[in-house]
Amino acid sequence: METNKNFIVGIFDDEDILLEGVEKVRDKGVKIHEVYTPFPVHGLDEALGYKRSRLPIAAFLFGLTGTSLALTMQIWMLGIDWPMIIGGKNFVSLPPFIPVTFELTVLLAALGMVATFMIVSDLKPYKWPRQFDLRSTDDKHVMAIDLAINTNLSSDDIKRILKEAGASEANDKNFE
């Protein structure tokens, strides 16, 4: 997919026009590569037919790892490896272990989820993203349409469909 070079780029000025536009464009049988927006537009993921993110599951699993790691560590260190009498209490008593267990659960859930997010979204400091239009981080919503997977339509057709769907501009974008 990254090797495709020729795109048509539709520029939308307003998020509500964009949301309707996405549906109109998809109804016409055009496959949308991706829509780049300056801020999260609610409902755009459903309009584009994206499935819900599974990151919450990742967060839960990392959190569970943190909980078990913390409990194992504390029980093993103070209960098995080197039991110490502290205030005459049991070697392994759960209540004093809860704070550290809670903190490590949160720590691992947060770090694990963010790391997963970075990896699946391909975010890394040395990467230059493909920029379809520089205004997509400022105030324009940019819809990129890959010509290689929309072979049934000519580029003029796509531009016409984009304009009808409410785009203020429809431009060619070629990556060398």
Partner: protein
């Protein structure tokens, strides 16, 4: 039937467009800083330099340089630690708890408040680290490493060790949350730099933005990450000051051995944190001309949180006094009698005036919407909250069980110098942040420009009066 609720004040004034948001925030990163910035930076660096000298002297000679004595073994160090950690709490409350409650007014203040959190936690952490005396051995004492790599492990029954985990988790998660929010905004600055032909700035900010492109799929995941981080940070922030209060509450010292400490400390933390947010934002707003983004409405809402948390703190003070008498424990009773009447009564009554009486002034709309009054009161609240910690710590231990060891605490120049060091550190970091990072979360503010700006609100008013 249609219910029409009252129209709320707009969150963005001045008829701003989405492009205006990018421009108004990014230009402070792009333009050279004003003269006042250099002046402020010079003052902070001077404080930092003097403070570093004091810290060096303490590390070189040992913590005997402080004014501690055999009765008062904890004083300014732990007071300052708790004070700074408390200040940090407002940032997480704004970014996490207000996100869960869908409070849109958080959007233009969360970035600066979270930055404040991170810098405040760094400042807080310096105190226990330096109190270790031999800082370089701290790893053996604070982390679960076997002592001298031989036998014993760290004691997981100790609240001081819980603190190590709580503070370091809090710092890490806050930092990650803050940085995740910054990523799309760094991309805005990168793309503006590309359009202006500044390749160097574009490269730096592209690296900072992790090559962000803002695709719908990435935004979808991003929002999911933000929501879960908020959900994780909410119990985390409550746990942090709870655990800080356990440092005292699990001891047997009269005046510390109190079950109301956790909620009382958390309310106090949010109280002082909001005061610090106001102090910082009132200056930032003025210097960066952000009046259209941080409006009087925002300031009023923060002042309302100050009334609420200030009143909780006030009730906690009175409950504490009542219980010390009602419990019938004579040591407990004396600890509080000594606070109110003893040689540190001036500190107790400063605390009462600053924390209980002064925030009640915000009941008057004129005062809570006045910038000058808010600024003055925000500083008074922070002075009061410093005294609260000082009163809890020093007055509880300076008269212990044996009257022959009763004494007073006198800070030395090194106690004061180290406190100044953290001010230097905090403001140096904050001014650097204000210069090089976008001080307002552009992506979030942009998402509300269309529906919460002045223009739209006026239109809604016109429509509701017609109907």
């Amino acid at each position: 039937m249609q219910v029409v609720s009252g129209v709320r004040d707009p969150l963005v004034t001045g008829g701003k467009t989405v492009h205006d948001v990018s421009h108004d925030i990014s230009r402070h990163v792009e333009n050279p800083p004003a003269k006042s910035w250099y002046l402020a930076m010079a003052v902070s660096l001077a404080l930092l330099g003097y403070g570093l000298y004091c810290v060096f002297m303490v590390l070189w000679n040992g913590i005997g340089m402080w004014g501690l004595n055999k009765t008062v073994g904890w004083a300014w160090d732990i007071t300052n630690f708790v004070w700074w950690v408390g200040i940090g709490h407002a940032g997480t409350l704004i970014s996490a708890i207000l996100l869960l409650f869908r409070q849109k007014w958080r959007m233009s203040i969360n970035r600066a408040a979270e930055a404040m959190t991170i810098f405040a936690v760094i400042c807080a952490a310096t105190f226990p680290l330096i109190h270790m005396g031999r800082l370089w051995l701290g790893f053996y004492w604070a982390l679960p490493l076997p002592n001298t790599f031989g036998s014993l492990w760290a004691n997981f029954n100790s609240p001081l060790l819980w603190d190590v985990f709580a503070i370091s988790t809090y710092f890490t998660v806050s930092l990650v949350f803050w940085y995740i929010g910054l990523i799309p905004d760094f991309a805005v600055i990168r793309d503006r730099a590309l359009a202006q032909g500044n390749q160097l700035r574009a490269t730096i900010y592209n690296a900072l933005s992790f090559g962000w492109e803002g695709g719908a799929k990435t935004w979808m995941r991003y929002e999911s990450v933000a929501l879960i981080l908020a959900g994780l940070s909410t119990p985390l922030v409550l746990s942090v000051h709870t655990i800080v209060s356990f440092d005292f509450a699990t001891s047997i010292i009269p005046g510390w051995h109190t079950t109301i400490f956790p909620p009382y400390f958390v309310a106090g933390a949010i109280f002082s944190g909001f005061a610090m947010v106001l102090t910082l934002l009132l200056i930032t707003r003025k210097v960066f001309k952000l009046e259209d983004y941080i409006t009087i409405y925002h300031i009023e809402l923060m002042n309302i949180i100050i009334i609420v948390t200030g009143s909780i703190v006030g009730i906690a003070y009175i409950t504490e006094l009542f219980i010390s008498w009602y419990s019938g424990v004579e040591y407990e009773g004396y600890a509080f009698f000594n606070r109110v009447q003893g040689p540190y009564a001036w500190a107790y009554w400063s605390m009462m005036t600053c924390n209980v009486i002064s925030p009640q002034l915000f009941w008057f709309k004129k005062i809570r919407t006045s910038l000058v009054a808010t600024f003055v009161l925000s500083i008074i609240v922070n002075i009061g909250m410093w005294f609260e910690r000082f009163v809890i710590i020093v007055t509880s231990i300076h008269r212990d069980y044996i009257p022959s060891s009763w004494t007073m605490f006198h800070p030395t120049m090194y106690d004061i110098g180290e406190y100044l060091f953290t001010f230097g550190l905090f403001f140096t970091a904050f001014f650097l942040f204000a210069k090089f990072f976008p001080v307002i979360n552009m992506a979030e503010v942009k998402s509300i420009v269309k529906h919460n700006s002045e223009k739209v609100e006026n239109k809604k008013v016109a429509e509701s009066t017609h109907a």
